[in-house]
């Protein structure tokens, strides 16, 4: 058990293993993305109120839901960095921050485009929008702290502390901002029956898209982790052999 655990910390081991995983993740991701997008764009009936604008939901909801996972992920990786000093955990935290900022920005942008048609405005100081914007600022704070600290080990630990504090703070911000002002609709219940407000032909593509975007998140995280491993281990023998061999 502990051997497995210490192996997991080794960047080389992860690089080799993730190389084997990748095809199994990329294949389903591509399949689900194509199916989901085709269904969402061509086969979903237009909403009785929102018309064709409803199709933005199939991009917005998956991105918004996955972007909530970044702070918990970074806090978890940060805790592992602080407690066990595992190299790989810090690489995860380091790559998750910019990725999280991109996903959050995409959720904000897609929501803004959707809102421009439905609410008649690109931006409104609503609870969820504001808390997402603040999450984006906190992520940018983590990224800029990492780039400001020159010593890599100190940067790893400092970002770990900030991620843990930020994770707690994101929750507090979420509640306080919701309580401050909310216009955004609460999440709608899904149902299998056809009389329900959300029939299967509406929510099945959404579930497919959610899985597709989650896989996209996993693939992009693994790819940037692999990239970061190569950069940080560039002086080690196995990386040199890998580069010369290709």
């Amino acid at each position: 058990m502990w051997l497995w655990f210490s192996k997991l910390g080794s960047p080389k081991w992860f690089y080799e293993l993730s190389g084997k995983w990748l095809p199994w993740l990329v294949g389903p991701m591509a399949f689900l993305l194509v199916v989901g997008i085709v269904l969402a764009l061509l086969f979903v009936p237009p909403d009785y109120q929102q018309g064709n604008t409803i199709r933005i939901m199939y991009i917005h909801v998956p991105f918004a839901s996955i972007s909530l996972a970044f702070f918990p992920l970074m806090a978890l990786a940060g805790t592992i960095t602080l407690v066990w000093r595992m190299k790989l955990a810090d690489i995860v935290a380091k790559t998750a921050a910019p990725l999280g900022a991109w996903f959050t920005a995409l959720a904000l942008a897609s929501g803004s485009i959707w809102g421009s048609d439905i609410w008649g405005t690109w931006w409104i100081w609503d609870g969820r929008l504001t808390s997402m914007l603040l999450q984006l600022f906190l992520l940018i704070g983590v990224i800029s702290l990492r780039s400001a600290l020159e010593d890599a080990e100190a940067a790893a630990k400092a970002c770990a502390v900030l991620s843990i504090v930020g994770c707690i703070n994101v929750v507090v911000i979420k509640y306080s901002v919701d309580w401050w002002n909310t216009l955004h609709q609460p999440s709608s219940p899904f149902s299998v029956s056809n009389e329900a407000p959300n029939p299967p032909e509406v929510w099945v593509p959404l579930v497919i898209m959610i899985f597709a975007v989650y896989l996209f998140f996993a693939v992009s995280l693994i790819l940037s982790i692999r990239n970061e491993i190569l950069v940080s281990e560039r002086r080690s023998e196995w990386v040199q052999q890998l580069v010369q061999g290709s």
Binding site: F137, I140, L145, G166
Partner: protein
Amino acid sequence: MSIQRTTTIKAFQATLRRDLLIAYKRKNDVINPFMFFLIVATLFPIGISPDPDRLSEIATGVLWISTLLASLLAMDNLYRADYEDGSLEQLLLIPHPLYFMVMAKNVAHWLISGLPVVLVSPLIAYMLNLPAESFGTLFITLLLGTPVLSLLGSIGVALTVGLGSRGLILAVITLPMSVPVLIAGTLAVQQTLNGASLAGYVAIMGAMLLASISLAPLASAAALRISVN
């Protein structure tokens, strides 16, 4: 030679007294954030409108944001000078829980930079034409909220103390974290203006204060150990 043992309480008091004494000797560090608060609060009527009705609408926000900015400006004094002259290292070597030493520095910092702002806030509120019945609420929420700002800011300073004068990172890290305090503080004042009870808001701010008293110094202490190594 006998080693004189001090209790944690004595070490706490000594750290607190030392920081207050330093502030007393370097009055500029105390006066500047306070003046900054007054000047920022003055800029709003000039920049927006001198119209009393409009001012009374924005007064709470102006006061809270000026407080937030003044607290941010004063943050730099918290650990930087100690870091530069090496006394921060000595503080980390004290054989008492670092939590209490950080707490002593935060208390001193709040007494120097937070409390004067709280005390002068009714005067500024009067000048901004805030209705008199909400002065009490404003005072109580600032009294509960400013220590939270100091405690949260302390984490940010502890993380960035080794960075020299790149103070803007501190703002990027600290300001988003202060949003819940800002929300609770401004809503409480509005609530009083609507004639409703403010017990709920005071309870929430008290909860924020207690949570940050118990957790924030731990994070600050961890951050200080990382920055000084």
